[in-house]
């Protein structure tokens, strides 16, 4: 039983990793970023490439992936998303186009494959990342076998969630972000540079997705299409938790992860995912604003 709960917790923490960035960008900026899954994918590829070309392990890849995806996010915000504020469904469609572009950039090795140049680690194939030795294997607590890497993911997720909370609730810029979540126009009237804060928020959210990619690459195969199912999961977590509520995302990621783990232990993974979708649908229908909706006028 403890093992099942633990697996659920680790599933939930992966969900949360992906959802954290979305919770911020969707909540603060009203942007449905379908390219968020591709940020995860880019983060995973940064891990692969830094392993091959720098001989670095995932600890080096974490800051690298954050920087790369944050810059990419900044670029997307400046070029596309900025022009679409207030048009929620259009951001969904435009970022879907961006997602295709990023996938193809990786698959075609930035177009170099047309010229016969191949970069090891990119391209349409599958990639794997070796986890450092001390994170392999399992240890046991109270008779339950606990996978070390899963425990590591939970730890990293907890640190990132805490860090995000600190930034959002204990720094001036976080206060500005929360003001924008509540009411962008009023925030602008109070002298907050909404454009600048939005750009930074988007970059930070993308950076978090990059770190999620590093973590995911340790236990999943890395390939160009890997991001799409993740963005869907992350998105459902955010909507179920309540848009703009960090606590809501943490809570719903935990619940969904545990439900997934529990159902999977009695039936199979496919049905477990189906049950999770069913629960999310029911909750959105019953409480469209999510479990932890912000109250406001």
């Amino acid at each position: 039983m403890l093992e099942v709960l633990f697996i659920g917790l680790s599933l939930g923490s992966v969900l949360l990793l992906v959802a954290l960035g979305l919770a911020i960008t969707y909540g603060a900026m009203g942007v449905i970023n379908m390219a968020h899954g591709e940020m995860v994918m880019v983060g995973a590829y940064v891990t692969v490439l830094s392993g091959i070309w720098l001989g670095a392990n995932i600890f080096v890849a974490i800051p690298l992936a954050f920087i790369v995806t944050a810059l990419l996010g900044l670029l997307i915000e400046k070029l596309v998303v900025r022009k679409l504020y207030g048009r929620l469904l259009d951001t969904l469609l435009a970022t879907w186009g961006i997602a295709i572009l990023i996938q193809q950039a990786v698959r075609l090795e930035f177009g170099l494959s047309f010229f016969g140049i191949h970069i090891e680690g990119l391209g349409p194939g599958l990639q794997n990342v070796a986890v450092p030795e001390f994170l392999q294997g399992a240890f046991s607590i109270g008779g339950a076998e606990i996978n070390r890497y899963r425990a590591f993911i939970i730890l990293v997720t907890a640190i990132l969630a805490l860090l995000t909370w600190l930034i959002m609730y204990r720094t001036p810029i976080g206060t500005q972000v929360r003001a924008i979540i509540r009411n962008p126009k009023m925030a602008a009237a109070c002298g907050i540079d909404v454009e600048r804060v939005n750009a930074l928020t988007f970059a930070f959210g993308s950076g978090l997705a990059g770190i999620a990619g590093v973590m995911v690459s340790g236990f999943k195969t890395v390939f160009p299409d890997m991001g799409t199912p993740m963005v869907v999961d992350g998105f459902l977590v955010v909507v179920m938790g309540g848009v703009g509520s960090l606590l809501g995302s943490v809570f719903s990621a935990g619940i969904l992860g545990e439900i997934n783990g529990l159902v999977a232990s009695v039936t199979n993974d496919i049905l477990a995912r189906a049950v999770v979708f069913g629960i999310v649908i029911a909750i959105i229908i019953l409480k469209p604003k999510g479990l932890f909706a912000l109250k406001g006028r």
């Binding site: 929620l88 186009g97 909507v239 496919i270 469209p288």
Partner: protein, 381 residues
Amino acid sequence: MLSKRHTIWAIYAVFIVLTMAAPLVMDSFWLNRVAKYLVYGMLGIAVALSWGYAGILNLGQGLFFGAGAYMLAMSLKLASATSLQQGSDKPVPDFMMWNAEPGAPTELCCINKASFLWLPFQSQWFGVLMGLVVPMAIAGVIGTIVFRKRISGVFVSIITLAVVLLVRLVVIDAQPITNGFNGLTDLGWLNVGGFEFDPYVVQTYYLVAISLAVVLIGTRLLVETRAGLILQAIRDDENRVRYLGFDVPTYQTFFFAVSALIAGFAGMLYVVVSEFASPTFLDLQFSITMVVWAAVGGRASILGACLGAILINTISATVSETAGFAEGWKVVIGLVFVLVVLYLPRGLAGIAHDLLDRLRRRTPADTVRVGDATGASQLAE
């Protein structure tokens, strides 16, 4: 000078004549392909109706397409030669035999626990009927729940998206009766009064082309009815229509179900043309791709969305013929999509409307009417 409405009907007529004339210049291989693209065009109509006219961005249109496809495919599967050669005088799908428990009777009723569901599909017309009824019923249930609860905008999109993914997983998991990931392949041909619709004969092409013409004109007439106008009013301001005393959810649900019906019909035609049904119809990618077609063609134009779907698919098939370009083409699609959303929200149909208006402005007799060419009435075209 013709009125704008006449001009638009003239464009419809030209389009239909062109689709009907295609067999004059194409061989059977290309006809089969174009028939597929016409089916996609029908999907474009379904998207335009729910997105452009009802303001409901359905990210799960693939659910209705898939439901229509699977219903007919089940009947055609039982009609295929292989299903009759499984050692029983009654048809049994081959995949059920492969997975049957040893000693299970080779009868559709009891080869596995759920196979009895297939029994009525021995009649092809039951499959056809279900292909229309099931998508509509699903849409009716979803619509009633969602619209009665006054859920709107992005939340409808998320719910439809989650529903299609949920159904996809269930279909994959129900392997004994759906053949899971592999879907239903090796199907028989649709048989109408003794005539078999071989996907590569010209009659099959006409079946699709005429269906498309009927759906196109029917949808166009439908949105011009009183109900269609109320629907567009709901799209523009839901609350105002509610205050005027109209029962908003009924209109929304009705048009949502009609859109599902069209998608389900398209799914059935697709099965006739391509001879398979698979869970890929329920993929998120497919449902969003349909929306892309409609966006490029013009989300608020029935013919535009239809043409968008046909154009994109024809171009991508042509380009993908060249080796190595298939992947590069996807880059173009992604780029086109971003640019269309950013700079051309009304799609190709928007350009066409502007051109039409500019041409008409030159003719002095019509100057009076130019005044009403506001954004709203253009959107409604």
